[in-house]
């Protein structure tokens, strides 16, 4: 059939590219996760062994992995909702009729998203500096003593979360603005004629009608935040006392610092499983919510 041939002709190049540059590496990494490919195997491939599920078993009994898992979860569960709340707040503010210079604020809030992380990290390292930092200076004005933000194992993760939220909220804000613009203005008019206040309008119109956008954003945020890497990599290298070690950072250290590629690949697939489960749960919640 001529139609089929055309389909193959048009899709072929793209499929080949995806196969070679996406599926093949993923399959290779999956195979790698069942071997003990390491520095010796790099020297001679004969030194690589098939080890079955040993990497996975070792990983699940590795305290460092669970530490990284807890850290990532902490980042996700605190940073995720915080980031979504800030994005929604900023979107509502920009869409509000009371605010002028909307374009300016939209651009200003979006700027951190497109700024290079390394440049941002330099600035935030100044802000967090225990003696000369802006944050500690502001705190000292209200009588709070110096906190060593990046050097204290209890404060390092909150500091990373704060910076990540600041860096990322602009992106979700833009999506929220699009969602807000899709809500018909008549609904608000009708509500105000019926005597609904601003808060009531927010609760009964804005939030329910934004639900699909919110679910979309929360899935994206979860996937992104699960893969926390660059912020701790440039700010703390996972320290102090591994308090900012994330799963991806651990993967990077195992893979490229110690060259334990097999172990590192196993980590990647465990992370993939987490993200998959997280996404499935979220979409289930969404479906149940839509059905009711």
């Amino acid at each position: 059939m001529a139609g089929n041939r055309a389909v193959i002709l048009f899709l072929g190049p793209a499929l080949v590219a995806i196969g070679v540059f996406f599926f093949l590496p993923v399959l290779a990494a999956f195979a790698l996760s069942f071997t003990d490919f390491d520095i010796y195997a790099l020297g001679s491939f004969a030194f690589a062994r098939f080890v079955g599920f040993k990497n996975y078993a070792q990983l699940l009994s590795d305290p460092l992995f669970w530490k990284a898992f807890r850290n990532t979860l902490e980042f996700l569960l605190i940073g995720g909702p915080l980031s979504i709340a800030v994005s929604l707040g900023a979107a509502l503010m920009i869409q509000s009729k009371l605010v002028r210079w909307k374009g300016f604020f939209r651009t200003a809030f979006f700027t951190p998203v497109v700024t290079t992380l390394v440049a941002v990290a330099v600035i935030w390292r100044f802000i967090y500096h225990p003696r000369f930092g802006l944050l500690n200076y502001l705190l000292s004005l209200v009588g709070i003593g110096g906190v060593d933000w990046l050097g204290d194992q209890h404060w390092a993760m909150p500091a990373i979360i704060l910076m990540a939220v600041w860096k990322n909220f602009g992106y979700n804000m833009v999506i929220f603005i699009a969602g807000l613009q899709n809500i018909p203005a008549e609904l608000y008019e009708a509500a105000s004629i019926d005597g609904a206040g601003r808060l009531q309008q927010l609760r009964t119109i804005t939030v329910p009608l934004l639900a699909p956008t919110t679910v979309y954003i929360s899935i994206l945020t979860m996937i992104g935040y699960f893969q926390l890497f660059s912020e701790p990599y440039v700010m703390t290298q996972g320290g102090p006392l591994n308090s900012t070690l994330s799963i991806v950072l651990l993967m990077y250290q195992q893979g490229f610092r110690w060259w334990n590629m097999g172990y590192s690949a196993a980590l990647a697939f465990v992370l993939f499983a987490f993200i998959l489960v997280g996404s499935v749960i979220q979409s289930r919640i969404q479906k149940r919510w839509e059905a009711s």
Partner: protein, 423 residues
């Protein structure tokens, strides 16, 4: 530099070389790439013109690799087959690159050399480059750890001299603590350093790994004893357990928060620059005290120059290694970087051996030992740091902590056991 007459002269050389029928690249010149790390890379470029004058047919391209990315970069370059002709390697990395068969045995080159002789080097440092009695690197500059101390604080506590044995070390620590209860006698940066702990183990005679480096020996009697002593410092309040409270070592040292600190030669320059002028007469360096007196063992650190096996210009690479190993270049390099020269005669000729702060390093360098020569060492060292920190924080007893450490180390060394015995 580009406009110097020397440079202009060299620009005309390719022509001559072509007529002389030199081998190498199309234009008759030999081009070698030299990867040097961090500050060393920046400074070594200044020594290259002198080499080019002597070897006009060799073009040297120095590429600077930042220290903190160097290890990853080298391994990736190996995987991508894009390694240079010559490289600076931290001498603890040599076993790893030897295992990968990427660096050449230099023994035959040294045998024929008029410049590089084993007898010119500190034996402990030379040994870090030797594997299975073959030499894989020529020491370029050296480092080791010694004791930095505040002589005024020691004197105020009634101690005229730095400790000469562990017993004296404990005694001085107790006196300083009694004199300054709010401060500490020592500082061990347990949250990011493994060197002092490993040094104490070496001094007690531990070999760190056992059975041909296939099993951990940290729970063995020597290392256990060393860790008991190490723990004493923390239990008695002679060293702070919470190391994160020290944001700047220089500031804490200047404030007298601690009086003794085991660290390397780069601190000479840092202390000279960063400590206030009023304190400049009040700090000194001393060799590490041995457990029963005398100079104790310290780590054999530093960087070596290696020849990559893939290089097609090995004679040119060797002549550059020889050039950088000459006493004059070693001295010049010390002036540029502050890195301590690897050749003993450089120290003697320049009276560096009698330098106020460097003298302790010279004496210590005759008492240094290499860490176990296995590719897994860096990974093991991190585990040592992790577990010794947990011991100081009382999360483990010394014995339990070291047993747990050995269990982890044995997992890391599993592959090595298989390679040596299991196949």
């Amino acid at each position: 530099m580009n406009t110097s007459p020397v440079r202009t002269f060299f620009c005309a050389l390719p022509l001559l070389a072509a007529f002389a029928g030199c081998h190498g690249a199309g234009d008759g010149r030999t081009r070698i790439t030299f990867w040097a790390l961090g500050a060393e890379g920046e400074h070594v470029a200044k020594l290259i013109p002198g080499f080019s004058k002597r070897h006009p047919d060799i073009d040297v391209k120095v590429q600077i690799i930042p220290w903190n990315a160097a290890h990853e970069k080298l391994l990736t370059a190996f995987a991508g087959e894009s390694l240079p002709d010559m490289c600076q390697l931290g001498n603890t990395w040599i076993p790893e690159f030897r295992t990968l068969n990427t660096i050449d045995n230099l023994t035959p080159w040294v045998a024929a050399s008029h410049t590089v002789h084993e007898s010119s080097y500190f034996p402990g440092i030379w040994d870090t480059n030797v594997m299975d009695s073959l030499l894989y690197g020529v020491p370029w500059y050296v480092d080791t750890r010694v004791l930095f101390y505040r002589s005024d604080l020691l004197a105020a506590a009634g101690c005229a001299k730095p400790p000469a044995s562990w017993e004296e070390w404990f005694d001085i620590s107790a006196k300083i603590k009694a004199r300054y209860p709010g401060s500490y006698a020592n500082f061990f940066s347990t949250n990011n350093e493994w060197a002092p702990q490993v040094i104490l183990g070496l001094e007690k005679g531990s070999s760190l790994l056992k059975e041909n480096n296939t099993l951990g020996d940290f729970s063995g009697p020597e290392f256990t004893e060393a860790m008991r002593s190490f723990y004493t410092f923390f239990r008695n309040g002679w060293a702070p357990v919470k190391t994160a409270q020290i944001v700047s070592v220089y500031q804490a040292f200047a404030e007298g928060f601690f009086a003794m600190y085991i660290t390397g030669p780069w601190y000479i320059g840092e202390f000279m620059n960063r400590l206030p002028d009023s304190l400049q007469g009040d700090w000194m360096t001393a060799p590490l005290p041995g457990p029963g007196g005398g100079i104790g063992l310290s780590l054999a650190g530093g960087s070596s120059l290696v020849m990559l096996s893939r290089s097609r210009h090995k004679p040119a690479v060797w002549s550059l290694i020889e050039y950088l190993s000459e006493p004059e270049q070693q001295l010049e390099f010390y002036r540029l970087t502050g890195d301590l020269p690897a050749r003993v005669e450089t120290w003697r000729d320049s009276s560096l051996a009698h330098n106020r702060y460097a003298g302790a390093f010279f004496r210590q360098l005759n008492h240094v030992r290499a860490t176990p020569k296995v590719p897994e060492w860096e990974q093991i060292a991190q585990k040592v740091r992790e577990y010794t920190e947990l011991i100081t924080m009382d999360q483990y007893t010394v014995e339990d902590g070291l047993r747990a450490l050995d269990r982890e180390v044995n997992v890391i060394l599993e592959k090595r056991r298989w390679l040596l015995h299991g196949r």
